[in-house]
């Protein structure tokens, strides 16, 4: 059977998540990114909401951990099932799901990473400085640089567009890792088209100097004639030319040569037409007059990306696009805030890089221009969002929370006396804990929130110290001018350019703004089968939503692979026998040091080193070798291992030689299991000592080697524990989340029991008619229910409740109580809690016999049942946040504002004379829903804002409801006589605490399911076999519920796909003989991996749940709780060695 493989394009947060979910399930993944490092935006963000810290690493695999990296994701990622290609672009896709042909182009690296030791000599000699994009241009870097400050490989890269090929680095590189490819640039033919001779000639000269072949033409017609003659690789054309203009030429040239790279040249005033040209296939544009350097670097870029770059064609089953988002560039718009002009105006990303430990301020908050300390900061929301003048009729969904986070962070990091002000229009706290977070910012951290949009920003001419003056009007109409040291612009989302281009070329639908468009009720399916969208590509999302979306995309890919008959890999078919025998042997350690082409005796007392290490009984011998990195050296090493037959190996060398992949290769050749190889980067250590300090250096190396010998001595060669794992799923709840989760799992080939307490499947969808975008909900539900009922892998249990559960490692046993049918007990490996939620009841103060005050649900059902006739209504008032977002339920239910807009538009459709008033606190029309807000306004819906201190009051009159509120702008009371009042009461979760507890899941303060990590594990519970989706997880729209269900499904499938789960080698165990059963270890384990086996009277461990943190070992006084792989004996020995 063929093994399934998916291409994930984009290795940021969502790409990594999709890739890891698939890799853990057992599928092969090809993960590519066009940049030179993985991790995307998150690598640049040190601090995330809500802890102001980072939890990126919590995404790493939880079982079979040794097959992937177990360190900070900033250092990079490694997984046996994932092949990572950096500086690689997806060019095209052809074919059908299960059989896609993708063409990739990878930029060649001028530095061989397997030889680069990261010594940094090249960087030292490089004389070219460029803006460092990793720090958003706030700092400079050389043309040869480390792609990200923390990357594990530590290998340098050359920025070929900035590099002048002076050759200094090539000369100095001690390992010969740098090789400028013999470039035959003459073969690269460039055509310059311009009606001005001087332009043509100077360009020709510049380009020729770089070694390219250049031809020129003075008109479009001439250019086309030349093209008939020979094949050009690249064309630079002016737009405004007499006769045929550049745009027309572009079209005709492309007809002749589809692959021609065209760059438009235009005067500043005509950028629009250049942008239009790009939509028609131009690659980029240059604004005249331009610097020769800009021209050259663009030509080089094209040359490298299209000529030197190697094309690679791959066959994959599915494609996940995870290209992320780009941000609005304020300087390209009207720029009222003087970004790039005024000092101290930065974007949110720049602010993050300003204060980062690896950023400009190196952890300190300093003014980016003057370097002075900053005391007053303002955040401006909606820069390039909710602004049609910036071509953005949409909201960017996450900026409000990012800005709050930045404000809190600034306060926490730099002192509470720092003044922070946040200017906003609507504070879109659209997640379940966001309102609380805002409150914390306001009350605990004293962040000032001002509801105002800043008109413009100027330098404070009175102060003349570079501070900025912001002018705004308050609600009462008073004009204020506040000054700030630093202004942070919350720049909005823009589609990822390359992905949009790819979409256009490959018939993947995009929305009017250029973002990838997904199909109805889905946020992952693109218009092309087999191609899925993950993360922010279809609209900016916060970490939690991106991760959910990326997991959902992984599920989509998993389904495609299963349907195409592809298999996951069974990685656990290792022959354990040899290793078990090995475990019984005494350790025989071989220590090998690589001299890395140097004479080690110059820095080390090798005699003493050998002598001392030989005194350790287990250490067989110490060998010094030269250059593992060469084929010859490698062979010598393999031979030496063959000959001396050690069962543990210690390898001291430079970084590239001791990398995990390298060690794995060695272990394959020598037959020595890779976990029995310990490595030491001796070259880096030696660098810390001057040559004269031989005794000290020797002592240090000796100490480090002895510590490794201790480690090696205690190493257990047997890989982690294996746990039999049940391969069926239980889904509790038959709403859309439950249905989707069940279908998703079943579609991946695993059996699902779906339990629903009612006798109808469908949950909340049963009472819904249309979505705000006018999709037919009932038709969708019918289709899903039919699919579910006819699925041979699904058993539906209606009118059923789960009564009790027992969990053993690897399996649940749940007792189903059925109404009208015999009870049943089922065994399952995972549990999905999709118990949903409901609309909160309306708290009525008034007697309302005629039902004039309704909830949104009551209103919609009334319309469907024809009890409410929109044509007979004159005035309708909608009250948002009715009984919610206050002390008792301080969370936003996310959907009510959109629902109100939908209802308002519906009423206006049915009766154009109707007066609709919406009373709101913050209009939560996030993302592209903003358009419906605009539409409602256009259709004459009147909006009143109220604040939580002055809630609207209602009073029932004879056949009307009198609504009293206040017009905050006009500062006057308002009374509206309404025929009916529709309250948005919000969502209540319906997840009983007992049920959650039964499965080892927790609830949050508002009784929603509590995620293991709200950002990085958004559908998981701390019990790794229990997940949640839909409304029991958090308030969400239908497509968001569907996405969370798909995400929960892949999280489940990644467990279900294994008959046996393998733990990491570092895993907890219990020495039962000495255990007193105090259960302290059970209580302290954050993962619930320890259980009391009351029958056998011992503590048992779920090795797959255990993450190897060792906290249990530290609470156990008798040492009965142990962390295998890093146990007490080893630790004490290592301490001993450290103190020799």
């Amino acid at each position: 059977m063929a093994i399934g493989k998916t291409l994930v394009a984009g290795a940021g947060l969502s790409g990594i998540r999709s890739a890891l979910d698939l890799a853990e399930t057992g599928y092969k993944v090809l993960l590519i990114d066009q940049s030179d490092h993985i991790g995307g935006l998150l690598c640049q963000l040190d601090n995330q909401f809500p802890t102001s810290k980072c939890g990126y690493c919590r995404m790493l695999p939880m079982f079979d951990r040794d097959r992937s990296s177990q360190h900070c994701l900033r250092k990079g990622l490694f997984h046996e099932n994932i092949e990572i290609l950096l500086s690689t672009q997806l060019m095209s896709v052809e074919g059908e799901p299960g059989d896609l042909k993708v063409t990739l182009k990878q930029n060649p690296s001028l530095i061989d990473p397997s030889l680069c030791t990261g010594c940094g000599e090249c960087e030292r000699v490089c004389s070219v400085f460029v803006d460092d994009p990793f720090n958003e241009g706030l700092t400079k870097r050389k043309a040869v640089y480390l792609p990200s400050p923390q990357s594990f490989s530590n290998a340098y890269t050359i920025d070929y567009t900035a590099c002048t090929r002076c050759g200094e680095c090539e000369k100095i590189c001690p390992t010969g890792a740098i090789k400028f490819i013999d470039q035959d640039r003459e073969k690269f033919k460039i055509l310059v088209v311009d009606d001005e001779k001087i332009v043509r000639d100077s360009m020709k000269e510049w380009l020729k100097e770089e070694g390219f072949s250049v031809a020129t033409a003075d008109s479009g017609q001439k250019a086309l004639e030349l093209m008939d003659d020979r094949l050009f690789n690249m064309m630079l054309t002016d737009i405004k030319m007499p006769g045929m203009d550049g745009v027309e030429l572009l079209a005709k040239a492309k007809e002749k040569n589809e692959d021609l790279c065209v760059i438009m040249m235009t005067a500043y005033a005509a950028v629009d037409s250049a942008v239009d040209a790009m939509k028609q296939g131009a690659l980029d544009y240059l604004t005249k007059p331009f610097d020769p350097d800009v021209l050259i670097s663009m030509a080089l870029k094209v040359y490298h990306e299209f000529e030197i770059a190697e094309a690679r064609v791959e066959q994959v089953d599915a494609l996940i696009l995870a290209g992320g988002t780009q941000f609005y560039k304020p300087e390209l718009g009207k720029n009222p805030y003087g970004y790039g002009v005024l000092p101290g105006v930065v974007t949110g990303m720049e602010f993050e890089r300003l204060i980062s430990g690896t950023g400009l301020g190196k952890g300190k908050l300093i003014h980016p221009k003057t370097g002075k300390p900053v005391r007053k900061i303002a955040w401006f929301q909606c820069v390039g969002s909710r602004d049609v003048q910036a071509d953005a009729g949409f909201c960017s969904s996450v900026c409000c929370m990012i800005s709050i986070k930045e404000a809190i962070l600034a306060k926490e990091k730099y002192g509470q006396d720092l003044e922070t002000t946040l200017f906003y229009m609507d504070m879109r706290t659209i997640g379940k804990s966001f309102d609380e977070y805002r409150l914390k910012a306001q009350e605990e951290n004293q962040v000032r929130f001002v509801r105002a949009r800043i008109h413009s920003l100027d330098e404070d001419l009175k102060k003349k110290d570079g501070s900025l003056l912001a002018r705004y009007v308050d609600l009462q109409g008073n004009i204020h001018e506040d000054d700030f040291d630093l202004v942070v612009l919350a720049t909005g989302q823009r589609p990822a350019k390359q992905m949009t281009e790819l979409a256009v070329k490959n018939d993947i639908g995009i929305n009017p703004w250029g973002f990838i468009e997904t199909t109805p009720f889905s946020i992952i399916k693109t218009s092309r089968a087999g191609i899925l969208s993950g993360g922010s590509l279809s609209g900016l999302k916060d970490i939690s939503d991106s991760v959910t979306c990326a997991s959902a995309a992984a599920l989509g890919a998993c389904k495609i692979m299963h349907e195409a008959g592809k298999q996951p890999i069974d990685a656990h078919a290792i022959d354990m026998d040899d290793l078990t025998i090995l475990a019984r042997e005494n350790p025989r350690i071989l220590t090998v040091l690589c001299s890395c082409d140097k004479d080690l005796s110059q820095t080390l007392d090798l005699e003493k080193l050998k002598l001392d290490l030989d005194r350790i009984p287990e250490n067989q011998s110490v060998e010094i070798m030269d250059k593992f990195c060469t084929d010859e050296g490698w062979k010598t090493l393999a031979d030496m291992i063959q000959k001396t037959n050690p069962n543990r190996l210690i390898l001291g060398a430079c970084l590239p030689c001791i990398q995990k992949q390298r060690v794995k290769e060695l272990s394959k050749e020598s037959g020595l299991h890779s976990s029995l190889v310990e490595t030491l980067d001796i070259i880096s250590i030696l660098k810390q000592y001057p040559d004269s300090q031989i005794p000290k250096t020797t002592q240090r190396i000796e100490r480090e080697l002895k510590a490794l010998i201790s480690k090696a001595r205690f190493k257990n060669p047997v890989p982690g524990e294996r746990l039999e794992s049940n391969q069926n799923a239980l889904v509790i709840g038959g709403g859309i989340a439950g249905i989707t989760a069940a279908l998703s799992i079943a579609d991946c080939g695993y059996h699902v029991d779906l339990v629903e307490k009612d006798d109808a499947i469908g949950g909340n969808l049963l009472w819904m008619d249309k979505t705000v975008d006018n999709l037919d909900i009932q038709a969708y539900l019918d289709e899903k229910v039919k699919e579910l009922e006819s699925h041979n892998q699904v058993t539906i249990h209606k009118k059923t409740k789960t009564e009790s559960t027992a969990q053993n490692p690897g399996e649940f046993l749940t007792f189903l109580k059925k109404d009208g049918e015999p009870d049943e007990t089922i065994l399952h490996g995972v549990t999905l809690l999709a118990t949903g939620g409901s609309q909160a009841p309306l708290m009525k103060d008034n007697e309302d016999p005629q039902q004039k005050e309704l909830t949104q649900k009551e209103f919609e059902m009334g319309v469907q049942d024809h009890k409410i006739d929109p044509e007979k209504l004159e005035t309708v008032v909608m009250i948002q946040c009715s009984g919610t977002r206050d002390e008792k339920r301080n969370y936003c239910s996310r959907v009510c504002c959109i629902r109100a807009l939908k209802n308002a538009l519906f009423l206006k459709d049915k009766n154009s004379d109707i007066q609709v008033y919406i009373l709101y606190r913050d209009m939560m029309s996030y993302g592209f829903y903003e358009e419906y807000y605009t539409e409602a306004k256009n259709r004459g819906v009147i909006f009143f804002q109220y604040d939580s201190a002055n809630k609207p009051l209602t009073q029932i009159q004879e056949d009307k409801v009198l609504v009293k509120t206040r017009d905050l702008l006009l500062d006057m009371p308002v009374e509206i006589e309404a025929d009916c009042v529709i309250h948005a009461t919000g969502i209540l979760p319906d997840l009983p605490a007992e049920l959650a507890d039964q499965y080892g899941a927790d609830l949050d303060t508002f009784h929603f399911f509590k995620e293991a990590d709200s950002k990085f594990r958004p559908v998981d519970s701390m019990n790794y076999r229990v997940f949640s989706c839909g409304l029991s997880l958090k308030p969400c729209t239908i497509e968001e519920a569907v996405a969370s269900a798909e995400a929960a499904a892949i999280r489940a499938v990644r467990i279900l796909s294994h008959e046996r789960l393998v733990s990491g080698k570092m895993v907890a165990d219990t020495r039962t003989a000495t255990c007193s059963m105090c259960e302290m270890c059970v209580d302290t384990c954050p993962y619930g991996a320890r259980f009391v086996d009351s029958l056998e009277e011992k503590i048992v461990i779920d090795p797959a749940a255990c993450q190897g943190c060792g906290v249990c070992a530290a609470v156990c006084p008798s040492g009965s709780a142990v962390l295998e792989g890093l146990d007490r004996r080893l630790m004490l020995d290592v301490i001993d060695m450290a103190l020799l």
């Binding site: 005194r615 009984p617 000495t1074 007193s1076 059963m1077 259960e1079 209580d1083 006084p1117 008798s1118 004996r1129």
Partner: protein, 377 residues
């Protein structure tokens, strides 16, 4: 509620025996656990009694304190036995037992805890010498300890643990036998401490009593005296051990017999980690140490052991002094422990042995605490 235990044949001990006999004969109780003088011996050992006739040998109050019975009660209760047992314990034994409950080494489910005002104790060796020299009869001992509050016993000092004990009165029990401030001519008083205790006392149909007036005052006096003694003791032992070198000297006779930990009621481990293979060093290891320092004393890991034990259980130390009792090299382990325990317990605001629902300090944490110990400023 409070009831009165009359003297029997002019004897307090017999009066108490009579009370326990009634208790054992009542339907509420299946067995009694209390100190009993063994046949033909002066040894008084905690015993489980089911035959009311055997109560005659019970010595509820004596200077004998061979071990902290809290540990024994945990053996009786860590699992269900299907029987109800009343156990008579000294205050420090109760505290030890409550600590063990927290560590799931025992349960109150089937127990009636009977506390008693502490009758003090001699050290093990002193008790043996005293019995040979000139023992008082049991009643005379009670009179001496509780009426006169004597500080010595026929020339033998009470153990350091007792003299420095700031909590010689029982709390959190089902019933307590009150002796301090009680006019023995009028008998003794039993006070109920729980619903279950009250029910039992009511079922016994004995005459009611009221709280003796002077009791509070006397209790305060005793606490004050002991507290002063404690301060002096802590000052003295701190002076003796306030550096690592002094500590080394203090423990230099330690032979790693682990008796102290075996007798410690809160050292609940089945096997001490120092007895496991972790400390069964390779021969080469000893050589390495010797090579590093020029000399290494054997057995090794002695100070390490004591410091570890302090880290493990000083917060739970109930101050019973059995560790010193158990030491064959006569090291005053107790005083070191008590002096540290005081600090560690205060650091976490922890009172061992008072409330079984108060979690041990190292089993819990608070997100916002001890922020002052973080950082290097």
């Amino acid at each position: 509620m409070m009831i009165k235990i009359e003297q029997e044949d002019n004897s307090l001990t017999k009066g108490l025996q009579q009370f326990f006999k009634r208790l054992l004969e009542s339907e509420e109780i299946d067995a009694l656990f209390l100190p009993v003088r063994l046949k033909d011996s002066f040894s008084i050992m905690p015993s489980l009694v089911t035959d009311p006739a055997q109560i005659e040998a019970a010595v509820p109050l004596s200077p004998s304190f061979p071990l902290n019975s809290g540990r024994m009660v945990s053996r009786l209760s860590y699992k269900e036995s299907g029987r109800k047992t009343a156990v008579l314990l000294r205050p420090c034994e109760i505290r030890a037992f409550i600590e063990l409950i927290k560590l799931k080494q025992g349960s109150r489910q089937e127990l009636i805890l009977i506390g008693i005002d502490c009758p003090k104790a001699l050290s093990l060796s002193d008790y043996a010498a005293y019995m040979e020299k000139d023992p008082l009869d049991d009643d005379a001992y009670i009179q001496k300890v509780f009426s006169a509050n004597e500080e010595t016993l026929n020339g033998f000092n009470f153990s350091s643990a007792c003299n420095t004990c700031e909590n010689p009165f029982p709390v959190n029990t089902d019933m307590n036998i009150l002796l301090q401030g009680v006019d023995f001519s009028d008998g003794m008083i039993v006070e109920s401490g729980s619903e279950a205790g009250r029910n039992i006392l009511e079922s016994l149909n004995m005459s009611e009593a009221s709280m003796p007036e002077k009791r509070e005052e006397i209790m305060a006096q005793i606490k004050e005296v002991n507290s002063k003694a404690n301060e002096a003791m802590v000052e003295d032992i701190t002076e003796k051990t306030d550096s690592i070198l002094k500590l080394n000297a203090f423990f230099d006779r330690c032979i790693n017999c682990y008796n102290c930990r075996n007798m410690c009621p809160v050292c609940y481990c089945k096997e001490c980690v120092f007895n496991t293979d972790v400390f069964y060093h390779q021969p080469v290891q000893y050589h390495q140490w010797a090579e590093k320092k020029g000399l290494v004393k054997l057995p090794t890991d002695t100070v390490f052991y004591h410091l570890t034990r302090l880290a493990h259980i000083s917060h739970a130390c109930v101050g019973c002094g059995q560790c010193s009792n158990a030491c064959p090299s006569d090291i005053n382990v107790f005083e070191v422990f008590k002096s540290v325990a005081q600090t560690t317990q205060a650091a976490f605001g922890y009172s061992p042995g008072i409330d079984e629902n108060e979690p041990p300090p190292l089993s819990v944490f608070n997100e916002r605490e001890f922020e002052d110990i973080v950082g290097i400023k």
